[in-house]
């Protein structure tokens, strides 16, 4: 698989380390009501869809950026690549 890195252009997926579902960006608020359950769901539960999946890849053998890759889990086709930083900022999560 080739990941079209937003800064570096097309890179072999071999250069990356896979973490999983991009919802891992949405870390729950540890001080909120029901935080233990929210953390359990966040850490352990997954949608695991057959089809389009937004997922975190880390460019370990490259520029060390985290990417959010949109990939089809049935065909392995990659349809979108964003910097995870941009995704997190858009959610109001990052400084």
């Amino acid at each position: 698989m080739i990941i079209n890195h937003p800064l570096l252009g097309p890179r072999d997926a071999q250069e990356f380390v896979y973490l999983g579902d991009a919802r891992l960006i949405e870390r729950p608020d540890g001080m909120a009501e029901g935080a233990p359950q929210a953390f359990h769901d966040h850490v352990y539960l997954r949608d695991n869809p057959a089809g389009e999946h937004r997922e975190l890849w880390y460019h370990e053998q490259g520029d060390r950026s985290w990417l959010v890759v949109t990939r089809n889990t049935v065909t392995h086709e990659i349809t979108g690549v964003e910097l995870a930083r941009d995704v997190a900022r858009a959610k109001g999560r990052s400084r």
Partner: protein, 461 residues
């Protein structure tokens, strides 16, 4: 030679199965019926036997009949098992045979045994470390040892021994600890030193600069089985006991009212059920989503490989501890080997080239001679990778709905015990004593069963 010994083994297993029909059965706990008890009234289909094999051989094999029926789904059942892989079929078999339940159906979206049970590298072993796992896998190993006689079918169970090589002193300590844990739970384990390994497999690369072979953890009772035949044996055994095996029947929804399951929607219509047990391996998340559940599971692809047929070379099973590579030799002569999962979520049932390269490199590091063999085939299967690398056999928040999954790349060896324990849970509503740790709530309670200590990263287990 391999073919001849295969044929002999076949005939012998059939003869054993035939002989053990004879009466004289030891007392067993109530509710559990003895192996080889007479089949239900009216079932006249013939058992396999050595005499039958000889007779058919002499008469052109014209007397064999289909091994199971092909029934249409009934309106409702007491038990509906979703998934006709090894685990679903074993569950139905033990439900009928050991727990004396009736009105059972197995719903399979494709054909029986077309999933992971027909795609794996057939290794069976009980060499786990942790308390939550080892008794279960040892129970499974004991069931493997009696399986062929039990269901009167040749599954080619071969206890040819498995060795896990180690390459450092620390790895030897870890292997010793694991071996002790195995022995404490009634399994067998030995530590082999370098020379003992060399006597078995002189062609290994003992002096690899990075990963010299220092010895191995050996389980002599481990080995391989004919994966398809395991599915077929359970399918036939279940069918003989009245279980409806319904193929080309995909579960597409669940009818749930007031927190209770009433049945499943399928491509062949609604099928009512008092209890539904789901055992669909890589499709677990898809099927349980019909009940509104999210699971502690990701689906990943694992590839396997087979070489052209070679003369006898490896008489056991071997795992290379440094890279991830394992190998055995099939009775047809092909080297059967594999390595890591590809590492990203996938439902594709096929992997990519980087892992093929990685596995080939592992093979070359362990036994350089493998570079002379040609690769015949590669294929993939979809693994239900759980958050701690261990399975789940549990109830769900929906009354009457039960789940069996999270087997990762190691569920073939678990097939008999998984079926037995799932049948136990379905029939009695209590977990089997060897499966009490396989609960959904272990993650909430901090009781993960993490053999590798990787944490909630399924692609690293």
């Amino acid at each position: 030679m391999a073919a001849l010994s295969g044929a002999l083994r076949f005939a012998m297993a059939e003869i054993q199965g035939f002989v053990s029909v004879l009466p004289g059965v030891a007392a067993r706990p109530p509710g559990i019926v003895a192996a080889n008890e007479p089949l239900p009234e009216g079932n006249t289909r013939m058992r396999y036997s050595g005499l039958r094999v000889i007779r058919e051989a002499l008469t052109g094999h014209r007397g064999w009949t289909p091994v199971w029926r092909d029934p249409a789904p009934q309106a409702s059942y007491d038990y509906v098992i979703v998934g006709g892989g090894g685990h679903g079929l074993a569950t139905a078999y033990y439900l009928a045979k050991e727990f004396r339940q009736a009105r059972i159906a197995v719903l399979e979206k494709g054909y029986l045994g077309g999933g992971n049970v027909g795609r794996n590298t057939t290794i069976i072993r009980s060499n786990y470390l942790l308390d939550g796992n080892e008794p279960f896998y040892e129970f499974s190993m004991k069931l493997w040892e009696g399986m062929e006689q039990d269901f009167n079918y040749n599954a080619m169970v071969s206890q040819r021994g498995i060795i896990n090589l180690f390459h450092t002193d620390a790895a030897r300590d870890a292997a010793t600890r694991r071996g002790n844990a195995m022995i404490l739970h009634g399994a067998d384990a030995e530590i082999l030193d370098r020379e003992q390994v060399r006597a078995m497999y002189p062609f290994l690369n003992f002096d690899n600069a990075r990963f010299p072979i220092k010895g191995a953890l050996m389980q002599r009772r481990g080995g391989t089985a004919r994966h398809d035949a395991v599915a077929w044996g359970y399918a036939r055994g279940a069918d003989l006991r009245g279980v409806d095996l319904i193929q080309n029947c995909e579960v597409t929804g669940m009818r749930i009212e007031n927190g209770r399951i009433l049945g499943v929607e399928t491509t062949r219509g609604f099928v009512g059920a008092k209890k539904v047990g789901v055992a669909v391996a890589g499709s677990s998340s898809k099927v349980m989503a019909h009940a509104g559940m999210r699971l502690p599971i990701e689906s990943h692809v694992l590839q396997a490989f087979v070489s052209e047929g070679l003369k006898p070379l490896i008489d056991g099973v071997m795992t290379f501890g440094a890279g991830h590579f394992y190998v055995s030799q099939s009775d047809k002569g092909g080297l059967v080997f594999g390595g890591d999962i590809d590492g990203y979520n996938s439902y594709a049932q096929r992997g990519n080239l980087p892992v093929i390269e990685d596995v080939a490199e592992g093979g070359m590091a362990l036994m350089p001679m493998i570079g002379r063999a040609r690769l015949l085939r590669t294929w993939g299967g979809i693994m239900d990778m759980s958050m701690d690398g261990s399975p789940i056999i549990d109830r769900t928040p929906v009354e009457g709905l039960y789940f069996n999954g999270g087997w990762c790349y190691g569920g073939f060896k678990a097939t008999p015990a998984s079926g037995w324990c799932f049948a136990h849970l379905l029939a009695t509503d209590r977990p089997h004593e060897t499966a009490t740790a396989y609960r959904f709530d272990r993650f909430m309670k901090g009781l993960a069963i993490d053999e590798k200590g990787q944490g909630p990263t399924p692609n690293l287990h």
